[in-house]
């Protein structure tokens, strides 16, 4: 049945609803129930993959806030993750601080570094900003490399981190981590959604669409650009810190430029300027290499393709970036939106309205 309901809004409150369509509420509820029940019926390996996705989601949401909403392109996301990881190393290994202190501390450190990295955005935009974040990436990674060379037992092994504990509860093993990350990600997502539809988010979108016009509207560019950088770095830093605890090891080799590009790929594949897109992209890009690995296992004598598999895993991310940018620039979120609109209008086939819901 065709309804006008989804596009007819009669009050401001109504137009600001997150879940506008009735079935969306049902869907979100179902997803949450499924998410809670998931560990019951799945293997530790599968849960491990999901945990990686959830960790990536936190970082991807950070980048989405910065690039997708504020329009500031950043190739320095891996460095932000490294900041979180190395703050964790310093605080746990040297100072023996507990988990509950370390993660907020990593967030604060991330915010400070994000402030610094964001400073060039006040002078440059576009290509020049991308290059300056790239330079920042290498500067931060250089510091981290020097630190690791000094303090780790052997240069290649990295630094080990013990399992975290909150009070009496020890977080280890895939299911415990899963619930912890699920709760955290839910809160972060709700926070991001609310941020995006209130003053900072609207300011960011105005800056993204036309910074001069935004300034003319009275938006403080300095403040909101730096805020975006700080938020992005904070989320990345938290993600990096949790990743350090989760994998129990920190090594600077993990934080390459390729990792930054992988995060960029997540938000492109998911769809610029969409929270849902950020989450979908994070899942897609995180699971992609494992999917490719499993595909190769179908080939006869799979063991012969060792390095080929690795190469294809690397290249697939690049192919995804190019294909999505050229063919589906608004990403998976747009595909999902089209599907929704199609069923909204069913059985009629009106063209979807071009009022993009962010």
């Amino acid at each position: 049945m065709a309804r006008a309901g989804t596009n007819l809004r009669t009050s401001y409150l109504e137009s600001n609803e997150v879940l506008r369509r009735p079935y969306q509420k049902v869907l979100v509820g179902l997803i949450l129930v499924a998410a809670v029940l998931l560990p019951g019926g799945s293997s530790d390996y599968f849960l491990h993959l999901i945990n990686l996705c959830l960790l990536a989601c936190i970082g991807a949401l950070g980048l989405m806030m910065l690039t997708g909403f504020c329009g500031q392109i950043s190739l320095g996301h891996a460095a932000f993750l490294a900041i979180g990881a190395f703050t964790t190393v310093i605080l746990t290994v040297h100072l023996k601080l507990p988990f509950i202190v370390v993660v907020p501390a990593a967030a604060v450190t991330g915010a400070m570094i994000g402030f610094l990295v964001g400073l060039p955005s006040l002078r440059f935009r576009g290509v020049y900003l991308a290059i300056s974040t790239l330079a920042m990436h290498y500067a931060i990674i250089f510091v981290a490399t020097t630190y690791q060379a000094k303090f780790s037992a052997s240069a290649s092994a990295g630094i080990t981190i013990p399992d975290p504990t909150i009070g009496p509860l020890k977080i280890s093993g895939a299911p415990t981590w899963y619930y912890f990350l699920l709760v955290l990600l839910t809160f972060i997502t709700i926070g991001c959604v609310n941020l995006v539809r209130t003053r900072p988010g609207r300011a960011w979108m105005a800056i993204r669409d036309r910074d001069i016009a935004a300034e003319a509207l009275g938006i403080n560019l300095t403040r909101y650009k730096l805020l975006a950088f700080m938020l992005s770095a904070t989320l990345a830093s938290v993600s990096g810190s949790l990743m350090a605890y989760y994998s129990n090891v920190v090594t600077v080799e993990a934080y390459t430029l390729d990792l930054a590009v992988i995060y960029v790929a997540m938000i492109i594949v998911g769809g610029m300027g969409s929270i849902l897109g950020g989450l979908m992209g994070a899942f897609f890009i995180t699971l992609l290499p494992y999917g490719i690995e499993h595909l190769f296992e179908f080939l006869p004598r799979a063991w012969r393709f060792g390095s080929t598999v690795f190469g294809v895993q690397v290249g697939a991310v690049g192919v995804c970036i190019i294909l999505f940018l050229l063919l589906e620039p608004k990403g998976l979120a747009e595909i999902w939106r089209r599907t929704e609109t199609y069923f909204d209008r069913w059985p009629f086939r009106y063209r979807p309205l071009d009022t993009t819901r962010r």
Binding site: F124, G126, V127, I131, A139, V312, G315
Partner: protein, 290 residues
């Protein structure tokens, strides 16, 4: 003397990369983040096509032919299938497409060449001994000569040929140029072909002096730094910038710390970006300032 030889070769390597980046930036306002990858893949192609039919012995002519064919196909392919479509999209699309190309090329190195470390050895005669114990192989001499020839050819092309003038017109204003009958698609694909050719030459140069591997793609960032130091829209600046980066890198290795030399291009980048972001010879208005 060894100092001079090393810095000159390094300057040539970076100048070629920077020239390619500058040409692409002038032609389409695209900063190519895949330039290092293109250079290294070009070096691998040069090596493989030289080795193809001659079983162990490198044939320079086949290698050169392979490199040229690679450049033409690669440049035209990148332009026709990707960069032509990103015109008019938000600025990040063009950048990120080149980043995507970079990753795909890197994976090609892993899949096709198994990421093996290769040193290109053309095998023409040993080396010339210079005063002070430095050696300069004929390949080095040839590559320096080629680089100089490349820059002279570029200068002549842009100044005296019809296509070169059309090229500059397109760089100035693509829309007006196309309205005056310039074939913009031809010009821009030519820009890509020239840039890839320069990068390939630079990759060969680098592979002859050091080695090719997936890690050596970072020369792209040195090239980008060189281009920025000189000014992103200045070919003359590319050479000067390359010299600055090469000299600084050599001196750091010698006098301070080899580890620092890897991070050095980026330190230079940060300094340049904060003091004089339009570079030594760049146009101030070119800068995408806020």
């Amino acid at each position: 003397m060894e100092f001079v030889a090393t810095v000159v070769i390094l300057t040539c390597t970076y100048a070629l990369l920077a020239a390619g980046i500058v040409i692409l930036y002038k032609a389409g306002r695209v900063v190519n983040f895949a330039h290092g990858e293109i250079a290294i893949v070009g070096g691998y192609v040069f090596y493989s096509s030289g080795m193809m039919f001659s079983g162990g012995e490198m044939s320079p002519w086949l290698a050169v032919l392979g490199a040229i064919v690679f450049s033409v196909i690669m440049g035209a392919f990148i332009y026709a299938t990707m960069m032509r479509r990103v015109v008019g999209e938000p600025f990040y699309v063009a950048i990120l497409v080149t980043v995507g190309i970079a990753i795909v090329l890197k994976s090609a190195i892993i899949v096709i060449w198994r990421a093996q470390h290769l040193t290109i050895d053309v095998g023409i005669a040993p080396a010339i001994r210079l005063a002070g114990g430095a050696t300069l192989s004929y390949m080095d001499v040839a590559s320096v000569a080629l680089t100089i020839a490349f820059f002279i050819a570029l200068y002549l092309f842009f100044t005296f040929t019809r296509l070169g003038v059309q090229f500059r017109g397109t760089a100035e204003n693509p829309l007006l140029a196309s309205q005056r009958g310039v074939n913009v698609n031809l010009v821009l694909s030519l820009a890509w072909i020239i840039a890839v050719l320069a990068a390939t030459l630079s990759g060969v140069l680098y592979g002859g002096r050091a080695f090719l591997s997936t890690e050596s793609v970072t020369i792209g960032l040195a090239g980008l730094t060189a281009a920025l130091v000189g000014g992103l829209d200045s070919l003359r600046g590319a050479v000067i910038g390359a010299f600055v980066v090469a000299l600084a890198q050599y001196l750091t290795v010698r006098l301070i710390d080899p580890v620092l030399s890897e991070a050095l291009p980026f330190l230079i980048l940060l300094v340049v970006m904060s003091i004089r972001p339009w570079g030594l010879f760049g146009t101030v208005e070119e800068l995408d300032r806020v």
